[in-house]
């Protein structure tokens, strides 16, 4: 189309204006991308990338929570195994007392005194078993002996995302069979009883070691879970960043180019707007 000297419609100005509007929109987008640091600021910027990145954000959030969960789990198990350590050392002291009582050199007063200490130690074991709490939950009284503690260590609800550990009851009633107890405690008031007590206490130490091994094993597993989850979360976070983040160098280069275009466009528009005036010179 040849352009005449028309005064009603300034075609060159209209094209320049249309280009300028386009450049302005682009600059606006660049401003947003540069100031937020994100290439995708709304679903309209890149619907597919947006959907992927949102799924990743959900997963990263949940993974971070799972890491926290596993760390809470480790603290809980540490509390339990610490208490079990105490109980083991008490049982070892009890073993010493029983061996001492089983020796024929003790008279009945000695045996009474030894028994008094022996019972007091068992009382302490019961205390530990009933008072060891984590977040108000009693750990060693058998609450978790059957259903177990469930650690939610991933983002979904499949069995693979959950780690279960049972914590056995470790009170005197649970460590020793009821028939061996009198008055709720193991007694060493005679040499015979003391000899029986030696083997019973040693059996209790063995089963307690097994419990500790069980808890320790899960604790170890949780440690690896935490580092694995952290790894996954980091990788996902990075993947999410590559999708949504602005390539600042590229964006800034584009921005500079758009700025030049905008300035040139404005200057040209001013020129083009004056074009119809020029024709008036013919009237002079």
């Amino acid at each position: 189309m040849s352009l005449d000297f028309s005064v009603n419609n300034n075609a060159s100005a209209a094209s320049i204006l249309s280009n300028l509007q386009y450049v302005n929109n682009e600059i606006n987008t660049s401003y947003q991308q540069l100031s937020t640091g994100n290439r995708i600021n709304s679903a309209a910027d890149d619907p597919a990338g947006y959907a992927i990145s949102q799924q990743m954000i959900s997963q990263v959030n949940a993974l971070n929570q799972a890491i926290q969960n596993a760390q809470n789990g480790i603290s809980m198990l540490q509390t339990a195994s610490g208490a079990m350590n105490q109980i083991t050392s008490i049982l070892q002291t009890m073993n010493t007392l029983a061996v001492e009582a089983a020796n024929g050199t003790q008279n009945s007063t000695d045996l009474q005194n030894l028994n008094q200490e022996f019972v007091a130690l068992q009382n302490q074991i019961n205390n530990i078993a009933n008072q060891t709490k984590f977040n108000t939950m009693t750990l060693l009284d058998g609450t978790f002996a059957t259903s177990g503690v469930v650690f939610q260590i991933n983002t979904d609800s499949t069995t693979l995302s959950q780690l279960t550990v049972t914590i056995a009851a470790v009170s005197i009633g649970a460590l020793f069979s009821a028939s061996a107890l009198s008055g709720g405690y193991l007694q060493i008031t005679s040499q015979t009883l003391a000899q029986q007590a030696i083997s019973l206490v040693q059996a209790a130490i063995t089963s307690l070691s097994a419990y500790q091994a069980q808890v320790g094993a899960v604790e170890d597993q949780l440690n690896y879970t935490v580092s694995n989850l952290q790894n996954t979360a980091d990788n996902l976070q990075n993947a999410e960043s590559t999708i949504t983040n602005t390539d600042m160098a590229q964006a800034y280069t584009q921005f500079s180019q758009q700025q030049v275009l905008q300035q040139v466009g404005l200057a040209m528009l001013a020129q083009a707007d004056q074009q119809p005036d020029a024709i008036l010179k013919l009237l002079q």
């Binding site: 005064v7 947006y50 949102q54």
Partner: protein, 301 residues
């Protein structure tokens, strides 16, 4: 042939009138800047010109529909993003609540209270308005979505239907996302979002940990659903924006075309005017100098 002064005068007047007519024509073009001032100036061009004017005004109406659709969609998109981040927060809290070390009575109550507030936030966003219309109301734009999603009110007709804007003859684009599609549509293998949210609170309050595991699964699937709904909306915004750009360009082209048809080439018209002016002045001079002498001038006084 014998030439009489009368004939000369008649011929002179005739020429003068012609020049006047031509100058009148040029003057009309100069003062309006247009070649087409009356249909008889160029019937074919005038009809083309009117067609173009009609097309330009139709394009203007379409553009205004597109821009109002875009503002509606952008508002919806922002609201959906807000909703999504609330739901993601609920998901995190739920994962925490599923961990036995966090499941003391106080812990569960705390999660229940937090999640209940977050859910309130979700429904508050669902009731967001643009002007006097509910963003997520679909065709039932005057009824608050939470009244029939969260509350027990019957769903008004049209609440599950999207509003479509006609941006060109025969071309319609949905501009809404309905609360119905977010809260009441059931993803495969899960219950709908509304049920999921109320289940979560109920199970947290009753301490039903086993059911909470199922709720996490439901929530994950519904979260995907909402993300997909927003991505779909984003794709529609892209389409609408592309249509807007294309229509703006088209409108500029049409306006230029119309200008080319009806606009006067001022340089040409002014040259014509100058020429006519010279002719006119010459004619007047001629009239004054040549027509004046007659026989009467030579009669003895």
């Amino acid at each position: 042939m014998r030439i009489t002064p009368w004939m000369e005068q008649q011929q002179f007047l005739y020429n003068l009138e012609n020049i006047n007519t031509s100058m009148q024509n040029v003057q009309e073009q100069l003062s309006t800047g247009k070649v087409l001032n009356l249909p008889q100036d160029d019937p074919v061009a005038v009809s083309q010109d009117m067609d173009l004017a009609h097309e330009i005004s139709e394009m203007g109406a379409n553009l205004s529909t597109v821009s109002s659709g875009l503002s509606w969609m952008n508002a919806t998109e922002t609201a959906l993003q807000g909703m999504l981040s609330q739901l993601q927060q609920i998901q995190s809290d739920l994962v925490a609540a599923l961990n036995t070390p966090n499941q003391s009575a106080g812990g569960l109550a705390g999660y229940a209270a937090t999640i209940r507030q977050l859910i309130q936030g979700v429904y508050q966003i669902a009731d967001q308005k643009l002007g006097d219309r509910y963003l997520f109301g679909g065709q039932a734009w005057n009824v608050a979505p939470s009244s029939y999603i969260e509350g027990s009110a019957t769903m008004p007709s049209g609440a599950d239907q999207n509003v479509a804007y006609q941006i060109a003859p025969g071309v319609s684009i949905d501009v809404t996302v309905t609360a119905y599609s977010i809260f009441e549509s059931t993803p495969t293998g899960a219950v709908n979002l509304q049920t999921t949210l109320s289940n979560i609170v109920n199970h947290l309050e009753s301490g039903d940990v086993t059911s909470l595991q199922g709720d996490l699964n439901d929530l994950n699937l519904n979260l995907t659903n909402v993300i997909d709904a927003n991505a779909d909306l984003g794709a529609r915004i892209q389409r609408m924006t592309a249509a807007q750009n294309q229509m703006q360009q088209y409108q500029t082209n049409l306006t230029n075309l119309k200008g080319g048809i009806e606009g006067a080439d001022m340089a040409q018209v002014m040259t014509q005017f100058s020429t006519d002016q010279v002719i006119y002045e010459a004619a007047l001079q001629m009239g004054a100098q040549i027509l004046l002498p007659s026989l009467v001038n030579y009669l003895p006084a």
